[in-house]
């Protein structure tokens, strides 16, 4: 190999270019290797840093616990209190999680009437916003608007209506009611290949 090169160039320039090539490559790879070695070694955790990290873990754990509590509640009870009728404002929905652990929103439609709808946009599955826009339900992902009373799409790319969630009003409290159909969550619920 060197002979092949030397045939075409003078010995001196081959030497010079080789030094530049090898030196340059060493420069690039050594600086990268140094960075990677300190990356593998990990951070030198100060007490403050450790404290902050623990604080963050705690926060993440708390939100996970919240989700597990929701799951337990949904498995164990046949109806779940959502909100006090007197505390809901018209136009501002109350977000909740339905029995399938999907987001849903509860809206007040009159003095003693409410309607709850799935918050999963029928277009591509984003979560719709809980505040009504001109009396309509709005999904910010692709600007779909839905009718509150019927759930049907009014404008935007969505074509299917937002499902209604079963609720009942008992005294001053609005409850989410469990339906007969089984809950489908997690693996083991994958439909078989329809062939």
């Amino acid at each position: 190999m060197p002979e092949d090169l030397i045939e075409r160039q003078s010995r001196r320039s081959v030497l010079l270019f080789s030094i530049a090539a090898i030196g340059g490559s060493i420069g690039v790879f050594s600086s990268l290797t140094a960075a990677i070695m300190s990356y593998i070694g990990g951070p030198n955790l100060t007490a403050a840093l450790k404290g902050r990290q623990l604080e963050e873990s705690k926060r993440a754990l708390e939100s996970q616990l919240e989700l597990i509590k929701l799951k337990v509640e949904r498995v164990n009870s046949t109806r779940i209190p959502l909100a006090k009728l007197s505390e809901i404002e018209e136009g501002a929905g109350v977000t909740f999680t339905d029995y399938a652990l999907q987001p849903a929103v509860l809206f007040k439609t009159g003095e003693r009437s409410c309607i709850a709808r799935s918050a999963v946009c029928t277009h591509l599955g984003c979560t719709v916003q809980s505040n009504l826009v001109d009396g309509r339900i709005y999904c910010p992902c692709h600007q779909s608007y839905f009718d509150l009373a019927k759930g049907v799409p009014l404008s935007g790319p969505a074509t299917l209506p937002l499902a209604q969630e079963p609720i009942e009003i008992d005294g001053d409290t609005v409850f989410l009611v469990k339906q007969q159909s089984p809950i489908k969550i997690g693996p083991g619920q994958i439909p078989m290949l329809p062939l």
């Binding site: 420069g27 600086s31 136009g91």
Partner: protein, 193 residues
């Protein structure tokens, strides 16, 4: 129209309601892009930044302080509730706490009628040390407590300053190396083919 109570505690709820009535017409007007009723600070930052921000700019929870979620008032015990308006408030993130520490609770709340003035007052501080003052960060809708969140060009300059030796080493050695490799492969004009 409901406003997320992004301002702080329930005790000034009446004040927020009055404000809500004041800004409601504006909120209606911007609904086309944002479709969300904003409390004044959030609305001001969103307008300046050009995208819809949320309460996590100052609060722990993106949905604001009211509710029973993480970092919301429903979660607090009696002892924590006493700290609601202090600089170690459990519902505020580090920028929210920093605001109360530098300006006091009353000053922050009183600037709600003119959110821009809060940004002006914060121009002298830089919580995350990324070279962009807290006031400027508010105007750009980037997180004032996060050194990796700032107007792009300014972050590039700052990162370049911090890492200039690494970047210069890479640039010089890659150019030298590439030139060496390239000329090594070249043929001399007078060499036999």
């Amino acid at each position: 129209m409901q406003f997320h109570d992004c301002l702080g505690s329930r005790s000034n709820g009446r004040f927020v309601m009055q404000l809500a009535l004041l800004v409601a017409p504006f909120a209606e007007a911007t609904v086309g892009q944002a479709a969300h009723a904003f409390p004044p600070f959030e609305r001001w930052i969103s307008q300046k930044a050009g995208f819809q921000t949320d309460c996590a700019y100052c609060h722990v929870n993106p949905a604001g302080p009211s509710g029973h979620g993480v970092g919301q008032e429903g979660r607090l015990d009696e002892r924590q509730k006493q700290h609601l308006h202090s600089a170690d408030s459990p519902i505020l993130n580090s920028f929210g706490q920093h605001l109360l520490k530098t300006l006091s609770y009353d000053k922050v709340v009183s600037s709600v009628s003119d959110p821009g003035s809060l940004a002006v007052q914060m121009k002298g501080y830089d919580l995350d040390g990324d070279g962009v003052s807290d006031g400027e960060e508010m105007e750009h809708g980037t997180l004032a407590y996060d050194p990796l969140s700032a107007p792009p060009a300014l972050v590039w300059m700052e990162r370049l300053k911090q890492n200039w030796s690494f970047v210069v080493t890479l640039a010089v050695s890659s150019l030298a190396g590439a030139a060496g490799l390239f000329f090594l492969a070249m043929e001399r004009k007078d060499a036999a083919k």
